[in-house]
């Protein structure tokens, strides 16, 4: 099984993801240059955080036209797993692979800090090692993480279990007090309707080692590994 981390010009969490997967979790992982279209036989593609194309125009707006994104789109059609983290999430939204948009944070500033996430759906390839309602402590670092979707569409998304993570308090309380950026319904991460594509603002790659203060991020990567290994197609939504 192999992970691929896409490198766009301006990506800056690409190596962090690579390190977490290879050095911490012992996985096979390769970098995928944005101008290539060969996914090198990867089973899971990661669109990492950073500032692809400097976030100029809109975050993710230019990166979505990269040649590799066409390959990623085909990969998704064939049922491949794609995880977009932070800027990667923004690229997935701009590409139309996930619904919604990310607006500037409610306070108008970049925010870098640890937050708590509640696992809303533990039955996805990205969360299958979590328990429903489990609380993960993972950092965020973004200027545009304020998830927006019209209420009715959010209702449908929620109903279908596509809301995977919500921002919460240390005890799992989901409320405005624990909403760092103004996201509608405290949404921190969502999945596609077939659960093969997930986007999330928090950075699991920053929470994979005890020495950095949290290992909760491992659960997300290891869920992918477990899911791919066991091919747990059943029970994953559809």
């Amino acid at each position: 099984m192999r992970f691929g981390v896409v490198v766009f010009p301006g990506s800056n969490c690409d190596y962090d993801c690579f390190y977490a997967l290879r050095d911490v979790l012992g996985q096979d992982v390769v970098f995928l240059w944005h101008k290539n279209t060969d996914l090198q036989g990867c089973d899971c593609i990661i669109l990492p955080g950073g500032f692809s194309y400097g976030d100029y125009l809109r975050t993710g707006a230019i990166a979505r036209f990269s040649p590799i994104m066409e390959a990623v789109r085909d990969f998704v059609l064939q049922g491949g797993l794609v995880l977009g983290i932070c800027n990667g999430f923004q690229i997935l939204l701009e590409s139309g692979l996930l619904p919604g948009a990310l607006l500037p944070n409610r306070n108008g500033r970049f925010i870098c800090r640890y937050v708590y996430l509640r696992v809303e759906n533990a039955n996805t390839p990205f969360t299958c090692l979590c328990t429903p309602g489990e609380i993960l402590r993972i950092p965020i670092a973004h200027y545009q993480g304020n998830f927006f979707l019209p209420q009715d569409e959010l209702g449908i998304l929620t109903e279908r279990g596509q809301v995977v993570f919500r921002y919460c308090g240390p005890q799992g309380e989901v409320s405005e007090a624990y909403n760092p950026n103004g996201s509608v319904g405290n949404v921190a991460g969502i999945a596609s309707s077939d659960f093969r594509v997930m986007g999330m603002m928090p950075h699991p790659e920053r929470a994979c080692e005890e020495i950095l203060g949290s290992v909760d991020g491992r659960k997300i990567f290891l869920s992918i590994v477990a899911w791919l290994e066991e091919k747990r197609y059943a029970g994953c939504g559809s």
Binding site: Y53, G54, Y56, L57, I62, F65
Partner: protein, 84 residues
């Protein structure tokens, strides 16, 4: 009376606009070869109370100079119209 001021702040000529340059390159990549220049800027819509249009213009101009634009690197244009 209420007025609406529409302000556009752009970089002065010669001041580097990395955003504009990156967007221009992206447009070229998408085969809009005819694009010669892309300039980015900021747009502000300001609803304000004033007795006359002239007063509103004066106030908006003052806002441009004091806050909305930094005269060191930016220039601005604006228009004011009645707001209904």
């Amino acid at each position: 009376m209420k007025y609406c001021g529409k302000v556009v702040v752009t970089l002065k000529p010669g001041v580097f606009d990395p955003q504009g340059m990156t967007i221009k390159n992206a447009l070229h990549t998408l085969s809009y070869q005819e694009v010669e220049e892309v300039e980015t800027g900021k747009y502000f819509r300001i609803i304000l109370k004033a007795v006359t249009k002239e007063e509103a213009e004066r106030r908006v101009q003052e806002m441009c100079e004091r806050l909305l634009a930094n005269p060191v690197i930016e220039r601005y244009t604006f228009e004011v119209e009645e707001f209904r």
